[in-house]
């Protein structure tokens, strides 16, 4: 898989989150805030995010790694590290 830069990872996540929570203005969300609180995501939304990541770049995030992706910044770091 291609290595993601910080920017491309962030763009991917923003695109996926916009699909999952179209009502939310991502510009208002703090990148270091908990996605669950910032965007009102529930566990179904989070699963859909994981499915979106898998479909887009082929990464399967194990459940035990979920906490690392609980913020936008954390998810960006996780994706860049795991595609490097």
């Amino acid at each position: 898989m291609t290595a993601l830069t910080d920017l491309t990872a962030r763009q991917l996540l923003v695109r996926l989150l916009a699909e999952i929570a179209p009502e939310v203005d991502l510009d208002d969300a703090r990148p270091d805030g908990q996605l669950q609180e910032e965007l009102g995501l529930d566990s179904m939304d989070f699963l859909n995010l994981m499915i979106g990541i898998h479909d887009a770049i082929g990464i399967t995030v194990p459940e035990r790694d979920y906490p690392a992706l609980s913020t936008l910044d954390g998810a960006v770091a996780y994706l860049t590290a795991n595609t490097a």
Partner: protein, 444 residues
């Protein structure tokens, strides 16, 4: 729901259709509803064009019997069947909801019919909430749509669950624009029947976002107030040890592709559905008496991101395997949030689950969604110290609660029901298997 706008036809004259096929999409204020056909046949004449606003009960199309003009086997009317946006529920549950038990004079009934007013959504101002002539006349905000061909198979609409549309007439595009621009729709616009059209939107006054979901809020208010007014609730709760379930789920999800992962919520729903199949006092409806259901159509409370709540159902949830139930839950959540729920999913639920686990609360005591008999609540799955064989251990647990209608069941049945849910969750492998039949259940 008094009326709806036909958004699109998914079939054309000449198409073969089968019972259960989605043939059209109708827009109501809060949700697009997919209209199903309830018999096999061939699509004949389409009676309503896309964009037309029609009262509930209006025939939308004719379904001709298969086999050129062979006479229909039954039914007093030689007419071909029609599709209406309000075909009765397919499983024989009565649709009357809000008028149940109310006394209506024939004059009022007749007037309502004439003016296309759905009595079930009217609050009566007469003595004891009786609907008067004046109430019916006051409810006519727009001239009735062009007279629809009358047909004996047209039936009144079934009421939506928690999400009744608000009363502002508007085009879907106008609503989208209003949402995007953060404005509230005017009460009347320049369209036919004073409907709000896109052109009306820029002039609309700004309103705080909290008012945008006003229509749904009102519908929830009505339904919940009715529940607390009419239903004598009793409440029970039990703490369920989820060690076995969570371990099994973790192991499963570790080996599965992401798309096949199962959420704990699906297991909780599955246990509830299987238990409900064995407890008719909690599964069914109360309409002038207890109407137990042999099917389990499991309502799921789904919060909408803009605010508000809907509780559409998963049909025959007790007969689905865990994977099928999970897939149905994903699909339903997605469609509910996109405002696209099928008509049956509104009207069918026989019991509802509210799962507030994602909000981190320990427990929730639900308000029953009338005319159902029970609401099951789950709090967050969390670690707690529990005594196992006299030893304190840290285990994942969930608090399961039951709010039930005391007219239809007593605490003994309620307690048995919660105990069965707890039992079923101790054997996730058995729970994951599809049941052969209701009586088969997941426990022997």
């Amino acid at each position: 729901m008094d009326e709806g706008t036909l958004l699109e036809w998914l079939v054309a004259p000449g198409d073969r259709v089968h019972r259960g096929d989605i043939v059209a999409v109708v827009d109501t204020e809060k949700s697009d509803i997919e209209v199903e056909v309830f018999e096999d046949g061939v699509v004949g004449e389409l009676l309503v064009d896309p964009g037309e606003l029609v009262p509930v009960g209006t025939p939308l199309a004719r379904i001709e019997p298969v086999g050129d003009g062979a006479p229909r086997a039954s039914g007093p009317a030689p007419e071909p069947a029609v599709v209406t946006p309000a075909q009765g529920p397919p499983r024989g549950l009565p649709t009357t909801e809000r008028t149940a038990g109310r006394i209506l004079s024939p004059v009022v009934r007749h007037l309502a019919e004439e003016l296309h007013v759905d009595l079930r959504h009217l609050a009566g101002t007469g003595t004891g909430g009786v609907i008067t002539r004046h109430d019916v006349e006051a409810a006519v905000e727009v001239p009735p749509a062009p007279p629809a061909p009358s047909d004996p198979t047209s039936v009144p609409a079934s009421a939506t669950v928690l999400a009744a549309p608000d009363r502002i007439r508007s085009s879907p595009y106008a609503r989208r624009l209003a949402r995007e621009r953060g404005v509230e729709l005017l009460v009347s616009g320049s369209g036919p029947g004073r409907a709000v059209l896109a052109a009306d939107v820029p002039d609309a006054p700004a309103a705080p976002p909290t008012e945008r979901a006003g229509g749904m809020r009102e519908a929830i208010a009505r339904s919940m107030a009715r529940s607390k007014r009419e239903i004598p609730h009793y409440y029970l709760q039990t703490t369920v040890d989820l060690e076995a379930s969570m371990q099994w789920l973790r192991a499963q999800n570790d080996t599965r592709p992401v798309v096949e992962r199962v959420l704990p919520a699906a297991l909780l729903l599955k246990a509830t559905a299987n238990a409900a199949a064995r407890h008719p006092g909690l599964n069914g409806r109360w309409e002038d008496g207890h109407l137990p259901s042999s099917d389990v159509h499991l309502g799921v409370a789904i919060s909408l991101r803009g605010g508000g709540l809907v509780a559409p159902g998963i049909a025959d949830a007790d007969l689905l395997s865990l994977d099928e139930l999970m897939a149905a839950l994903r699909d339903l959540t997605q469609r509910a949030r996109a405002g696209r729920v099928r008509q049956r999913e509104w009207t069918d639920p026989t019991i509802t689950v509210t799962n507030l686990g994602d909000l981190g609360v320990d427990a929730v005591w639900g308000v029953i969604n009338p005319p159902q008999l029970a609401m099951v609540g789950f709090g967050a799955v969390h670690d707690a110290v529990v005594a196992v064989d006299g030893v304190p251990l840290v285990r994942p647990v969930v608090v399961a609660s039951l709010a039930a209608d005391h007219r239809a069941s007593d605490g003994v049945e309620g307690a048995g029901f919660l105990a069965r849910i707890a039992d079923l969750l101790q054997d996730p492998v058995a729970l994951a298997r599809p049941a052969d039949a209701h009586t088969g259940g997941a426990t022997p």
